[in-house]
Amino acid sequence: MNAEIRNIKTNAELALAEAYSAGKTRLPGGRNVVALREEAAARFDALGLPHRRVEEWKYTDLRALMREARPIAGAPDAAGIARAKDAGKRIGDMDARRIVFVDGTFVAELSDLADLSPGLTIRSMAQALAACDPLVEAHLGKVVPPEREGVVALNTALMRDGAVVHVAKGATVERPIHLVFATTGQTPASVFTRSLVVIEAGARVMLVESHDASAGHQVNTALELVVGDKAHVDHIKITGGPSDLVHVSSLMASVGAHARFNDFAFNIGGGVVRNQTFVRFDGEGTLAGLRGASLLNGKQHVDSTLVVDHQAPGCQSREVFATVLDGESRGVFQGKIVVRPHAQQTDARMMTRALLLSDEAEADSKPELEIFADDVQCGHGATSGALDEDLKFYLMARGIPETDAEALLVQAFVGEAIEGIEHAGLRDALMEQVVAWLWARGG
């Protein structure tokens, strides 16, 4: 007898499998890509949508949270494109090169591909797949592929478009690249975007992803990121959207030796949001910061899940996550640090903090350390609590009204995580988002 129990497929799973079989001939890609999709579709067929009995998803039962699957979005019409004109505004007035995707499709007329600095190449994933781009052939589906991961498999099967960015060895890209993903469709749809970013040795780039959506959408987005030796990469992902948005995002990153990698995830919207990050250190002496801040209200469910795999010695990783929860929201943090036997002198620290502004909000933290080397420094901490009443009283005793006092304390709480972003202009823009969120809360 086979011990594995096959679940009866849900409507959503059946619809997604059907969408693949019906639409696969129209999806971009040559023979290798077709094989990749087929293999991924078979994996999704076996795994289905992740559910609470899958340990990595126990707090985010996607199968239960996503009973129906939306039809796959088509290419946007002129009105849809027009609606996306202002997408990605959360970065404030930071100067960046905008590359815009609407309903999962690259839109050249909203994107800025002029005067690319030397060593920088940007193209759309759909074009790259169709043209059997060698960079895509070399890396797609191969950067830290997570095992038994239904949503990544689903993304691979159904990926339509996204960005393919390459920065050549030693090149410095001064102007940040801003990948803007917007859905503007007026009927709820599902969108599958896949990007590949390869930063060669010694190169320097800052990459910002902005995600926003219209009502009822289901977004499954994935990014494979290769950070070369001695490269310096900042990656900031900003996620917003309506309260009925399902947004599942997977970042898979391999980082070379003596590199610097700063990742930041800012969540300020959506109904069900899962940001999963898989980072592997392949070379020694690398510094990495994986940070995030989330602001939740209503019935929002935001899950930040990290797997940090130290395969090389002498790397330092820092994880700092701050979550502010109001209403009946639920915040999940899962952080796993793996230190392989030969990854000596690893220095890994993880801290997650939750600030509960309401009695009905819930924060779950699950830090895990798996250490197989004997000369390492690893630590983790998790706190959750309400606003400090004594601090609030101190502020009020100086004449600051209660709501302003609370807002100051929340800003201070989130600010500590946001400090991890190197770009001052973006830090300020995100703090403005925090202030706006606090105002909307009933400042």
Binding site: F393, A397, F413
Partner: protein, 252 residues
């Protein structure tokens, strides 16, 4: 200026203040002395409106207006200032932001215009200079990494900027060495004015060598048991509080 009438207060259900009466006129400095547990800090917190400090009877009038129904921030805007015995650390809120937010919130509540950045900076620079506070410190989180003396100086800086009409100083001398005590006392003395009253709460007489009070009260078991001139403080220094603890026991 300040009238406290028959004040009774409890903390965690425990009766601390038992019918306290006190009148401080405009421009006067009154000291409140008393043994540990007599209710000195409770009086300070009740005046500022700290949650958990419940008034069960009595009134606190500031210029004839009962402040007990007001929130802490409203009391501050009315001109009440409490210098904390243990100033709190607020990581992530720069002292400058804190000072400016407080000052402008009070001005706004009083219907006054907010200060411009140059006006504000000039005020802070002048006040900080007198208290020997480095401007660099004010860019850090409120009281974060400050020594005990620096925290107390920061309290007096806030007082100088906010220009309250009634200052309550809760054990401002605790944790200060002689030099810091002098800087803090000088700062307080500079703020003495015919329009401003002060209530100086202290366990020890030494602060009153520097901030010389007009009136000294002895607090014991939650009520004022003796009132006199500044010489009363010296008397207490010599004889201790034991006699009053007996007196209060009889009185209550």
């Amino acid at each position: 200026m300040l009238e406290v009438k028959n004040l009774h207060a409890t903390v965690d259900g425990k009766q601390i203040l038992n019918g306290l009466d006190l009148v401080v006129d405009k421009g006067e400095v009154h000291a409140i002395m008393g043994p540990n547990g007599s209710g000195k800090s409770t009086l300070a917190y009740v005046m500022a409106g700290k949650p958990g400090y419940e008034v069960t009877q009595g009134q606190i009038l500031l210029d004839g207006e009962d402040i007990l129904a007001m929130h802490s921030d409203e009391r501050a805007a009315k001109g009440l200032f409490l210098a904390f015995q243990y100033p709190l650390e607020i990581p992530g809120v720069a002292t400058m932001t804190f000072l400016r937010t407080a000052l402008n919130a009070q001005r706004k509540k009083r219907g006054e215009a907010e200060l411009s950045t140059p006006e504000f900076l000039k005020l802070v620079r002048d006040a900080a200079g007198k208290l020997e506070i480095d401007m660099e410190m004010l860019r850090r989180g409120v009281n974060v990494g400050f020594s005990g003396g620096e925290k107390k100086r920061n309290e007096i800086l806030q007082m100088a900027l906010l220009q309250p009409r009634l200052c309550v100083l809760d054990e401002t001398d605790s944790g200060l060495d002689i030099d810091a005590l002098k800087i803090v006392s000088d700062g307080v003395n500079r703020l003495r004015s015919p329009d401003r009253s002060m209530l100086v709460i202290t366990h020890y007489q030494r602060l009153l060598d520097h901030i010389v009070p007009d009136v000294v009260h002895v607090l014991s078991a939650g009520r004022i048991v003796k009132t006199g001139g500044k010489e009363l403080a010296l008397e207490l220094e010599a004889s201790g509080y034991a006699q009053f603890q007996g007196e209060a026991a009889h009185a209550s």
